[in-house]
Amino acid sequence: MLAWGGLVHQYAGAAEPIRYADFALGPGRHLLLRGASGSGKSTLLALLSGLLRVQQGELAVAGTSLQDLSPRALDAWRGATLGVVPQRLHLSEALTVAENLALPALAAGQGADTARAAELMAALNIAELAGRRPHQLSVGQAQRVALARALMRRPQLLLADEPSASLDDEHTLHMLALLLDAAEREGCTLVIASHDGRVIEALGARDDVAEVVLRGKPPAGSPASPASHRTTYWLDEDTA
């Protein structure tokens, strides 16, 4: 479902590249991606979502090799394959909930899929909010709307970036439950990027979640220990 090998990314002007150890995630499993600031987590998320082009190595998501796609094809692929719940939900204040759900189709240059929107709003229990603006929603309601938007085009990969940021314990657990339920119901792979202990604890107990930790510094005694502190390491190899 998700695999990369020999993946290296270097930003213009950066002294050292970011190297990612090879990795593969089988079908039916989800991924918890951990990593502190500077660990290369944001870069990996950008590569996974096709916002950054693969410079070196291979990256395959849902059977598509992203390094082979042109920027235009990457845009189309992202719209069709990926559902994203960003750290900040970014629901458009200019639009109602129903109109926010029409955005994925508009972004792809297609007409709004009202039947799919109705189905998701019913499934996520937000049907009565269709005419409201984002500022009229509670935190929990806004999360559901953002999740519905991510699921509108039936993604194969659902990507949630720091879904618990600025949430209390109750909302954090609620959000995780929503994401896992949605992934199960829609049959898609869930990738959660987080360094929140509550999320790590909640997902660590699940057998269907693989955990990958990105570290900014090499562990002592590592056989492949390079000089750069920017190099990425997989501390947990039990990810396949």
């Binding site: 944001s42 998320l45 950008a46 979502s49 916002l51 950054l52 920027p71 235009r72 845009d75 189309a76 692929w77 992202r78 719209g79 069709a80 990926l82 994203v84 960003p86 750290q87 900040r88 970014h90 458009s92 204040e93 200019a94 639009l95 109109e99 955005l103 994925p104 508009l106 972004a107 792809a108 240059g109 938007r149 085009r153 970036d161 720091e162 940021a165 600025s166």
Partner: protein, 394 residues
């Protein structure tokens, strides 16, 4: 995308309304100038009606032309009736039509002339008939409408071209005809036989003047050959007490004088448009900054960068489209107001016009300005750093 751009546009209603107002005012000013100048020119050309030369008493050629062709000024004086015969005898003259001015009815000029004057403008009798003897009058369409006079009614003219002159109550005119609306100067004139003017004014003359040579005010001349344009004015100006005025030349001079005002108004319109353009530019830049999260999300949802940039340009174009419609409507409304004002003052009637060629400039100007104003904000939207925007809390 259009609907989305529309919703984004009105997400800041006050800013959008202000920009719309600025753009509309600028476009309305430009429309007004383009349309009014085209209509004034069309009106002047129509009233020139193939008249090549106006001959009057010595004085200003511009005054003679304004009095003789457009009936907007007082004539410079009278000329002998014999001048008309002398002009008709000139081989270079195809037609010479006499006009006798001096009286008015409720501000509308009473013009003593011949049936040839109507032919110059292709005037048609709408009701009744042309005069067959002195003291019968044919009313222009606008005069009939304004006065309410009908065939068979009588009225008395006032001395002078303003309504304030003494009435010629003892010499009433009988209305025998009403002209069909022609959109020309004929609409605001009262036409009568040239002898009517002599009859009315005979009473003002002393007894010893009764046998004095008859006079007319002006003669409208059409040339037989282009050569006349060189020869005839010289001949006329060489005659004692006569002055020629070439309407085409005088009208061009008039348009140059009026043109300075027109240019000023057009410049004002352009200044308004530039101000509106700057305002739209600032508003769009602000919108891109304020909505960069929304735009980044669109990119994340699969929208290509060019579509996100097009969304910004589309917002400006929608604003420009709306301003174009409102600006054209306001510009046309102002011209209609001017037309009404001129009609109330019994002044020049503007030429009828659909959409003038120059008016196509208005949407082009608005569209061009919108694209120019949106180009930098659209480029900023095109270059958004999506990953940073979606990850960093603001």
């Amino acid at each position: 995308m259009i609907r989305l751009a529309w919703r984004y546009l009105w997400s800041s209603p006050l800013t959008t309304a202000l920009n719309l107002l600025l753009l509309t005012l600028g476009l309305a000013a430009v429309t007004f100038v383009l349309r009014a100048s085209a209509q004034v020119e069309a009106g002047l050309k129509r009233d020139l009606a193939g008249i090549d030369l106006v001959v009057g008493a010595k004085g200003s050629p511009m005054q003679i032309m304004l009095a003789g062709v457009f009936h907007l000024d007082s004539p410079t004086g009278n000329i002998p009736l014999a001048t008309l015969d002398a002009l008709k005898r000139q081989p270079l003259v195809a037609q010479a039509v006499p006009l006798s001015l001096g009286d008015s009815f409720r501000g509308y000029r009473i013009v003593g002339t011949t049936a040839e004057y109507l032919d110059l403008y292709g005037g048609r009798i709408g009701q009744g008939a042309l005069w067959t003897r002195p003291m019968q009058a044919v009313l222009g369409a606008e005069v009939a409408r304004a006065s309410g006079l009908k065939i068979g009614d009588h009225f008395a003219g006032s001395h002078g071209l303003a309504d304030s002159g003494g009435a010629h109550g003892e010499h009433p005119f009988e209305v025998v005809g009403v002209l069909a609306d022609s959109g020309s100067v004929l609409d605001r004139l009262v036409l009568t036989d040239i002898a009517s003017v002599w009859e009315v004014h005979g009473d003002h003359h002393d007894a010893h003047d009764a046998d004095a040579p008859k006079e007319i005010t002006l003669a409208l001349v059409r040339y037989r050959s282009p050569l006349a344009a060189v020869m005839l004015p010289r001949w006329v100006n060489a005659q004692d007490g006569l002055q020629s005025a070439a309407p085409a030349l005088e009208t061009a001079r008039l348009m140059r004088i009026v043109g300075a005002g027109t240019e000023m108004l057009r410049g004002f319109g352009i200044v308004l448009l530039v101000a509106a353009g700057l305002s739209v530019w600032v508003a769009l830049l602000h919108a891109v900054r304020a909505r960069q999260g929304d735009l980044a999300m669109l990119r994340m949802l699969g929208a290509p960068a060019r579509r996100v940039a097009a969304l910004i340009a589309l917002e400006a174009l929608l604003l420009a489209g709306l301003a174009t419609v409102l600006g054209l409507a306001a510009g046309h409304g102002l011209v209609a107001l001017l037309e009404r004002l001129l009609a109330e003052r019994q002044s020049l009637r503007l030429g009828a016009l659909g959409v003038s060629d120059a008016e196509w400039l208005v949407p082009l100007l608005a569209g061009g300005m919108a694209l120019l104003a949106s180009s930098w904000p659209a480029w900023r939207a095109y270059r958004l750093d999506v990953t940073t925007l979606l990850q960093a809390p603001r």
